[in-house]
């Protein structure tokens, strides 16, 4: 299973989202590869991903960037809220 955390540049914010998504997966007892990506690279990195994590601010841009990917886009409000990320991942993976 593959999850991609996306932000504008692929550094900084998406790295924080990646770290906390891995914590959330741990908490849920799930294992998945979590990659960080920038918007420009999302079409390629989302090709084989099940879930794309991103900010609600970026969700529309991600939607138009991924084209035909089947990945589900999950919008995260607080990148540091592992409870929020866990709940949303559980909904989309469970």
């Amino acid at each position: 299973m593959k999850i991609v955390a996306v932000c504008g540049l692929g550094i900084g914010t998406s790295a924080i989202l990646k770290v906390n998504a891995e914590r959330a997966l741990d908490r849920l007892g799930l294992s998945a590869d979590v990659d960080a990506s920038d918007l420009a690279g999302i079409a390629a990195s989302a090709a084989d991903a099940q879930v794309i994590l991103t900010s609600s601010e970026l969700a529309d841009a991600v939607r138009s960037a991924i084209g035909r990917s089947f990945a589900e886009i999950v919008e995260v409000s607080n990148y540091f809220d592992v409870d929020e990320i866990s709940a949303k991942l559980e909904t989309s993976l469970g």
Binding site: I11, G12, V19, N78, Y79, D81
Partner: protein
């Protein structure tokens, strides 16, 4: 070891700013003062928000301003600006912003350890409020867990990120929430 990860020059307490651009410029000036970047970096951080929107407001009250690595980055650096009056960045959920963290990285690998440490600190949901009220630069460093880590900065590698990802750290964060009173004392 050669320089503190968050020197006094990189911290601005109670800044008065009119809007988000001025707030990001404060974070940029602090990066310049601490020797991390040239002055043009602030405009690049502003450019990222103009291009992609306010997604850098990654938690209620907290913006992580940053830009791509570039020739204006002299070395990896971090700055912290607390705002006397919160300003909106245009984020649908997390406005207004009370703390702007400025981040400069010289290459993509470098930022991982830095960001993992930030993730550890800010997973404590009370930290934004406490940091916004901080009266000394030492308080800010201590809230970020930077005091004890100064000596290990240069030897950090991506391995530290692996460790930080473990549930042990997450539990440590929860314990840290219980020490609110102590942190404010």
């Amino acid at each position: 070891m050669t320089h503190p990860p968050l020197p006094d020059e990189a911290i601005v307490l109670g800044a008065h700013v009119d809007d988000w651009r001025a707030a990001v410029r404060e974070a940029g000036r602090a990066l310049v003062r601490s020797g991390s970047t040239a002055s043009g970096y602030a405009d690049r951080m502003i450019g990222v928000i103009e291009e992609f929107g306010a997604y850098v407001v990654i938690a209620p009250g907290l913006a992580l301003a940053h830009a791509r690595p570039g020739p204006d980055v002299r070395r990896e650096g971090l700055s912290v600006v607390t705002l006397a009056e919160p300003v909106p960045f245009g984020h649908p959920h997390n406005d207004p912003v009370r703390i702007v963290v400025g981040l400069a990285v010289a290459n993509a690998e470098e930022h991982v350890a830095r960001v993992a440490r930030l993730a550890n600190a800010f997973n404590d949901s009370g930290i934004v409020g406490r940091m916004a009220r901080a009266e000394t630069t030492d308080e800010v460093r201590s809230l970020l867990g930077f005091e004890s880590a100064e000596g290990t900065e240069s030897s950090e590698s991506s391995e530290s990120t692996e460790r930080a990802e473990g549930s042990e750290r997450a539990e440590g964060t929860e314990r840290a929430e219980g020490s609110d009173g102590e942190a404010e004392a």
